[in-house]
Symmetry: C2
Subunit: 163 residues, 2 copies
DNA sequence: ATTAATCAGTTGCGGATTGCTACTTAATAT
DNA sequence: ATATTAAGTAGCAATCCGCAACTGATTAAT
């Protein structure tokens, strides 16, 4: 087993803080809705079938955590617009990765519509762990290392990668 | 009662079925433990500080969903070994992605130790969405498309990518 | 101007889930 | 024979979730 994180630090990772922000019931689905272009309370409510009080609570929490912004619209001040922040938008790989996993291993999901690259309209590649040179890595290829013990890449190598 | 149902009919993607399996409180942290080499009930319990009944419930659920296997050890039959299946192991990109996000956006997390490629001991690349040719894509580069409307790549192109 | 409709919530309540602690059961160690 | 360990269960309080009905502030219709 190559993959074992030293015990001392096992509790010291970003997961708990991530889960505090989006680890509750419905939060992932609300995020998916946001990525799909939902912006209003009633849109989320009818698209997800979530209870109104829970939705209000989750939207509030996502706003508190800086994942969504909440702005009343100028031309109709009843309407509130929820929008992803940059912080929120960077959850897309996780949401998509979880979705891909569910599609791959869940019970018969047809998987449409599909996320595609705008440029060529081809489906995105499955979310994977990759090395600095973009090789795809599996569990067996990985291990933990103290940040201080990592040797920086040689300059020419880095240049080649950047290109 | 069908309290799991709301997730299932909340949309036509794999997210609900993924959340059904691992969307509950603690499941992600139990998975992280499994990826870090924890294999036994008491190990999870003391590493995570989770209540015993909840842990039993979550482990059982992960086993039910084929994410972990549960095998009594031959040389000490009190001991039960929990191990990731292939299905479970394929959650690593999601767990790592969420962790990276938490490290990036959470409150001051030093981020050590770090996951590295065994081959050259260089840190893994951040989890990203990539195009079929491995270009990294952001929100602005993406759109949804009906699966039926996607034109397959030309044969020579596919061959080049596979290589 | 008055009334109706819409949007974004909030409230109250019953049932479900979670967390804590103590207990149990089976296998091993002394 | 007794103690200890591993892996759970059981009971109970506190919290969370889901449903339906209600409020309050705009905006639309008559």
């Amino acid at each position: 087993m190559g993959l074992r994180e030293p015990f001392d630090d096992a509790g010291e990772c970003g997961l708990p803080s991530a889960l505090e922000a989006i680890g509750e019931r419905w939060s992932f689905l609300i995020l998916r809705g946001a990525f799909n272009g939902l912006h209003h309370f009633e849109e989320f409510q009818s698209a997800l079938g979530i209870a109104r009080n829970i939705l209000a609570n989750r939207l509030g929490r996502l706003v508190e955590h800086g994942i969504l912004t909440r702005t009343p619209l100028a031309d109709d001040r009843r309407k509130i617009e929820y929008r992803l922040t940059e912080k929120g938008a960077e959850l897309l790989p996780v949401v998509v990765g979880l979705r891909q996993w569910g599609e791959r291993w869940g019970i018969g999901i047809p998987s449409t519509p599909v996320l595609v690259d705008k440029r060529d309209e081809q489906p995105i590649r499955p979310i994977r762990i990759t090395a600095h040179d973009k090789r795809e890595l599996g569990l067996a290829d990985l291990c933990w290392k103290q940040a201080a013990d990592i040797r920086p890449l040689e300059e020419p190598v880095r240049a080649a990668i950047a290109a």
